[in-house]
């Protein structure tokens, strides 16, 4: 039963991998890659790596491929679609793949595993504990430094991806800290002596802050630029 399952998973894996590299539409390629990863997770399960099988489905089929599909669908499909003239580089690809397969076949025909290696490296108590427990107890003790460093790698990747794709648009209104620090109360506050029994109307209505709203905006942020129609700083100062 296990053998049949293995061959079913392996066959679907290979076929979907071929479809990934040969699909004309990038969306189809991404979906075939999801299928390939799910079948690889089946192979992982057969080999006894249960935790990694679930992780493969969660990370790849769940996160990375969603990212791929999102990017593919954000782009214009006509531009993403294949341009004709793939045949030009087909011989080169076939040559490289053929050389690779030849080397691997040569290795496969001539390899020999030391029969004593299982006695040397095997961990006999592995069968007693579940896979996830064993992985956790190894990662959080012997491999804790590598684990932390891989977290740092993810952090760097996150920052790098944000930096690469962040674009400053003139939509968002940003804080100008220098201007805030240089600001005096006189610029925004106007002290008035109000007589008794007088409302807002008698004192000239509501006043906007003198300088704050209509000041020149910081470069690349939303707001009037110098000489703009919206820039009424001078009018305000003149009292119009």
């Amino acid at each position: 039963m296990t053998v049949i399952l293995f061959y079913v998973f392996a066959a679907i894996l290979i076929v979907s991998a071929v479809m990934v590299v040969s699909a004309r539409n990038s969306v189809h390629a991404a979906l075939f890659l999801v299928l390939a990863f799910c079948n690889a997770a089946g192979l992982f399960l057969i080999a006894g790596a249960e935790f990694l099988a679930i992780m493969l489905i969660t990370i790849y089929a769940g996160a990375v491929m969603i990212l791929f599909l999102f990017v593919v669908m954000t782009m214009n499909t006509n531009l993403v679609q294949a341009r004709e003239g793939v045949q030009r580089y087909m011989p080169l690809g076939l040559l490289v793949a053929g050389v690779l397969v030849f080397e691997l076949v040569m290795v496969a025909l001539n390899y020999k595993i030391d029969p004593k290696i299982i006695d040397v490296v095997s961990q006999p108590n592995l069968k007693a504990i579940p896979n996830t427990t064993a992985l956790g107890s190894a990662i959080y003790t012997h491999y804790i430094l590598l684990f932390q460093i891989s977290g740092l790698v993810l952090l760097v990747a996150m920052i790098g991806a944000i930096v690469l794709t962040l674009r400053h648009r003139p939509i968002n209104r940003r804080q100008n800290i220098t201007r805030q620090h240089m600001r005096e109360p006189v610029q925004t506050l106007e002290m008035k002596s109000v007589n008794l029994n007088q409302g807002v109307e008698e004192n000239g209505g509501f006043l906007r802050p003198k300088d704050s709203y209509y000041g020149i905006a910081e470069k690349d942020s939303f707001g009037p630029s110098p000489g703009d129609k919206m820039d009424i700083t001078e009018k305000r100062q003149k009292g119009e």
Binding site: L52, V64, V71, L100, I113, I117
Partner: protein, 106 residues
């Protein structure tokens, strides 16, 4: 579970070698789409992971599976950065064709 007693090591390695060859072929033969190149790199990494898992199971040693954990981390970081680069490239050139990425060719 030990795959030595049920399937054997060789079928796993064969599947993994096939995946590697298909991924390499995808990188070299495909000159049209940067995204498919990234997907081919994912296939190659998957074949490496499959090898590690097969040996880990056959030799009854957990180290291979731990290496797969780290390799999955690196693969996720790589694909995130790669997709960010492709998005930035698409924004500048309005294309994801590989042949258009020849500005540094000299």
């Amino acid at each position: 579970m030990n795959i030595i007693h049920t399937i054997g090591l060789a079928p796993y390695l064969t599947v993994s070698a096939g995946l590697l060859a298909i991924g390499m072929f995808g990188i070299f033969a495909n000159r049209k789409n940067l995204l498919v190149v990234l997907m081919s790199i994912e296939l190659i990494l998957l074949s490496a992971n499959l090898n590690l898992i097969a040996f880990s199971s056959a030799l009854q040693n957990l180290t291979g599976q731990i290496m797969v954990v780290f390799s999955l981390t690196i693969a996720a970081a790589e694909s995130a950065i790669g997709i960010a680069i492709i998005v930035a490239y698409f924004r500048n050139r309005h294309s994801v064709q590989i042949e258009d990425a020849s500005i540094m060719k000299g």
